[in-house]
């Protein structure tokens, strides 16, 4: 059965290496094979040098919270059941200009509404975890 959690379509060839990485427990970032510039979200051409060649390079999986929200209804039903829950944007320690959207969890397989939102702070250090929802491992975050 399809999850109601709006999972990524794994047929997207541009993004597939990222999701293959999370399935292995790795946080990969698209990197230009010619000039080394990192870019996320992925795209076919390097905006710095126009190369069409890219690699997917491992990161430390560490970062800091750049911003966050706490979502309340009205929401799609699957998410409304979990509200209020947090959504964070994390800047990566390896390259703070690379940012990813995720959730802050109390534990690596915990729900997205377990942490008291009043305790979340911009700048706090976090590390990536990869809980699985259906056939996708989503990169989420726990406190360092």
């Amino acid at each position: 059965m399809e999850s109601a959690f709006l999972l990524p379509d794994l047929d997207d060839e541009e993004a597939r290496p990222f999701w293959d990485g999370t399935a292995r427990g790795e946080l990969l970032v698209q990197t230009c094979a010619a000039c080394g510039t990192r870019r996320m979200p992925p795209r076919p051409m390097c905006p710095a040098c126009r190369s069409l060649e890219s690699t997917w390079d491992a990161t430390s999986g560490r970062g800091r919270i750049w911003s966050f929200i706490v979502a309340h209804p009205p929401l799609l039903p699957a998410f409304a059941e979990l509200a209020p829950y947090n959504v964070v944007v994390v800047e990566l320690a390896d390259d703070p200009l690379i940012r990813l959207v995720g959730n802050l969890l109390e534990r690596s397989d915990g729900p997205i509404n377990e942490i008291d939102p009043a305790t979340i702070e911009i700048g706090e250090p976090v590390r990536a975890v990869f809980p699985t929802v259906d056939d996708v491992a989503l990169p989420r975050w726990v406190r360092e």
Binding site: L6, P8, P41, I69
Partner: protein, 385 residues
């Protein structure tokens, strides 16, 4: 070459605003367009140009054959939702200025108040493209995406909920003077704002725009022709569009400097092609799907320094009649109606005509902006050519 003063808005028309208005979106569009043509004192057969939002569901062919328009020699659609409003008027103005058509109509019609019509409620269970980087984590709605930027703005610059309340309260006061506004007879207090339920922290209910059924239209023609028509022309002094480098629509967290939105690029072309600057603007209609777009846009269009958008709202600065820059004088998207920002264009024209219900004295330069956080557009309207 610029389009400075070459064209003018010569007619405006609209339906009532409401929830569950009778008639289809097409019927509402036709009523607004016919009213705008009448307001200008023109005939439907005079119209030979059309410009609309790419998200508009009423189509050029259906509108033209319903209203009885003439042969259409220019038609254009502008993308990116609420970023398109001023863009449709600007495209029409460029087409008139370059002789591709003589009388153009731009419009927006929506039956938005039906919950099922809200775009964010219509996502499939698998997401593709750039949405896959945000939606799986529960960042679902436009308000969530703007709340993320708002929290960061608060962190970097000390913007507060008091500042956002200043925005919501100013627009509500303006709506309380406007009999056409949804919130005409509904005053709001600071306590109402502070006690409202959360939608996406740090944003509450009153940081959000309304959901409205309604349609609005404007008629654009040459400055020369507009002078002979029924209403005082609102000259189109300058027009801009902006899609800034490395921008990603709505989820604008990925560029180097996410708090610098498309308004900055749009402002560059607007002021570069104008004879006036921000200090000459007497009144502004600023796209307000969410209250944080006001400080972000005030910074982007150069009314204050970076990070000063919050404090700019203090001391009644954006309120009619005594504020330094009265903003959204008909109530805006938050308290008049949310018709994808097109009602802001009509209020910008009314300020030049002198017919606003919160009329700014000596309003000779009137700014209108479209959606911030998406590829956007803006217009500078003037009383004198």
């Amino acid at each position: 070459m610029t389009i400075k003063g070459a064209t003018a808005v010569a007619g405006i028309g609209q339906t009532a605003f409401g929830k569950g208005l009778p008639g289809s979106e097409l019927s509402l569009a036709c009523q607004a367009i016919a009213a705008a043509i009448d307001d200008a004192g023109l005939q439907p057969s005079d119209v030979d140009g059309l410009a609309l939002y790419s998200m508009e569901d009423t189509r050029e062919v259906d509108v033209a054959r319903s209203v009885g328009l003439g042969d259409i020699t220019f038609f254009s659609q502008v993308g990116f939702g609420g970023g398109a409003g001023c863009g449709t008027v600007g495209h029409a103005a460029m087409a008139v200025a370059t002789g591709q058509c003589n009388v153009a109509v731009a419009w927006r019609a929506r039956k938005r108040a039906a919950k099922a019509s809200r775009p964010w409620a219509q996502v499939p269970t698998r997401v593709t493209g750039h949405w896959q980087w945000s939606r799986p984590f529960g960042l679902l709605r436009p308000v969530d995406e703007i709340a993320m930027l708002a929290r960061r703005h608060m962190h970097e610059y000390g913007t507060t909920r008091e500042h956002l309340a200043n925005v919501a309260l100013a627009f509500r006061k303006h709506a309380n003077r406007n009999p056409n506004a949804t919130m005409y007879e509904k005053p709001m207090t600071r306590d109402d704002y502070m006690n409202a339920r959360w939608i996406s922290e740090p944003l509450c209910l009153y940081d959000n725009c309304l959901e409205t059924d309604g349609a609005l239209a404007v008629v654009i023609t040459s400055a020369e022709r507009a002078r002979d028509l029924r209403r005082p022309p609102a000259y189109i002094h300058a027009f801009g569009q902006g899609l800034n480098t490395q921008h990603q629509t709505m989820t604008n967290f990925f560029r180097d400097d996410p708090l610098k939105g498309p308004a900055w690029a749009c402002a560059d072309v607007l002021w570069r092609t104008a004879d006036v600057g921000p200090s000459d603007v007497k009144v502004a209609q600023i796209y307000d799907a969410f209250s944080p777009l006001i400080p972000l846009s005030l910074e982007g269009y150069g009314f204050c320094a970076r990070g000063e958008g919050g404090p700019f709202t203090e001391n009644g600065n954006i309120e009619w009649p005594n504020g330094r820059l009265p903003v959204n004088t008909s109530g805006g998207g938050m308290s008049e109606a949310y018709v994808h920002g097109f009602n802001l264009v009509l209020e910008g024209v009314r300020q030049i005509r002198g017919t606003s219900t919160a009329q700014v004295d000596g309003a000779d330069v009137s700014l209108v902006t479209s959606g911030e956080g998406v590829p956007t557009s803006a217009l500078l309207l003037t009383k004198e050519q």
